[in-house]
Symmetry: C2
Subunit: 125 residues, 2 copies
DNA sequence: ACTTTTATTGCAACACTGTTGCATTTGCAA
DNA sequence: TTGCAAATGCAACAGTGTTGCAATAAAAGT
C-alpha cells in the first residue's frame, strides 16, 4: 500500500479520534476539497482490509471505523461497541469481553457486537 | 394499528421465513406491483415498533427483519445472529446467549450482536 | 537524477436505499 | 352508513456507496 496524502490524513483522523467515525464524519473532518468522496471510501476500505482500522456497524446500519488497540471483529478479540442514541457517537468498550459458546458447524470470520442506549455523557447533561 | 393487506402479507412473509429478510428481499417476495416501496418501509418500521418483528443489522450494515420467538434486541433477551458471507442469509442463533457485564453509567436500550462467516449449508456444498 | 511501472486519485455517471409531502384510499369505530 | 384517522400511492428528493476511465503521483529500477 502506498503512503499517500489521503491515506495518511484519513488514518490519522481515525487514530486520533476518541470515537468511531463514519465515512461522512471523516469527510467533514477533512479540509474542504482535500480529496474526493470516492477516495475516502477507497481509503477506508483499504485500511480496513489491511487491518489498520476496523469496521463497526451501529444499530442503524451506519458503518463506522475505529483504530482500537485490539481488533474488534476477529473472533478471538471480540469486544463490544456502544452507540449513543442521543449524540450518535460510537465508543469502544474494550473492557467488555462477552462469553459465548461458538455455534457448531458455523465458521466464524468476523463479529459485530453493538449495544445502544444513552452514554454517560448524555445521561449527565 | 390497522389490519391492512400490506401489513398482513408482509408480516406473514417474515414470520414464515427461516431467515431474516431485508427490505429488498421482502419486496422481491411480494407479487409484482403488490404495493409501493415506501409502504414496505413504513410497514416494516411499524411492525418493528410494535414488536411483532425485530431488526437485525448485518455486518455489511444491511437491515434485516425477523420474527424470532424471543426479541433479540432487548437487553434482557440478547441473542446472536449469524450472517453468512457466501449465501448472505441471516439466521437466528437463539441458543447462544452471550454473557457480559453491563458497562457502568451506560443505559442500554437495544443490542445487535452479529457473527459472520460460513454457515453449515455453505460449508457442506 | 531520470525513467518506468503501477497504485491511487479525481471526476462523472450511476444504482440503490431510505425519506417525505400530499392527495387519495381504506379500515374501523361511532 | 357515515366520518375520521390511519395507511397508501405517487413522485420527488437526499444520501450513500460503486464503477470506469483518464490523469496523477509514489516508489522502485536504471
Amino acid at each position: 500500500m502506498r503512503n499517500t496524502q489521503a491515506t495518511q490524513k484519513i488514518y490519522d483522523i481515525i487514530k486520533d479520534s476518541e470515537i468511531a467515525l463514519s465515512h461522512s464524519e471523516v469527510q467533514n473532518m477533512l479540509p474542504e476539497g482535500f480529496c474526493d468522496r470516492a477516495t475516502i471510501y477507497r481509503v477506508l476500505e483499504r485500511l480496513a482490509q489491511k487491518g489498520s482500522i476496523h469496521k463497526i456497524v451501529n444499530v442503524d446500519g451506519v458503518i463506522n471505523y475505529a483504530a482500537c488497540e485490539y481488533a474488534a471483529n476477529t473472533p478471538s478479540a471480540t469486544h463490544v461497541h456502544f452507540n449513543c442514541e442521543r449524540c450518535q457517537t460510537v465508543t469502544c468498550l474494550e473492557e467488555i469481553k462477552p462469553n459465548f459458546t461458538l455455534p457448531k458447524n458455523y465458521k466464524i470470520h468476523q463479529s459485530n457486537f453493538v449495544l445502544s442506549g444513552i452514554c454517560p455523557n448524555c445521561s449527565a447533561n
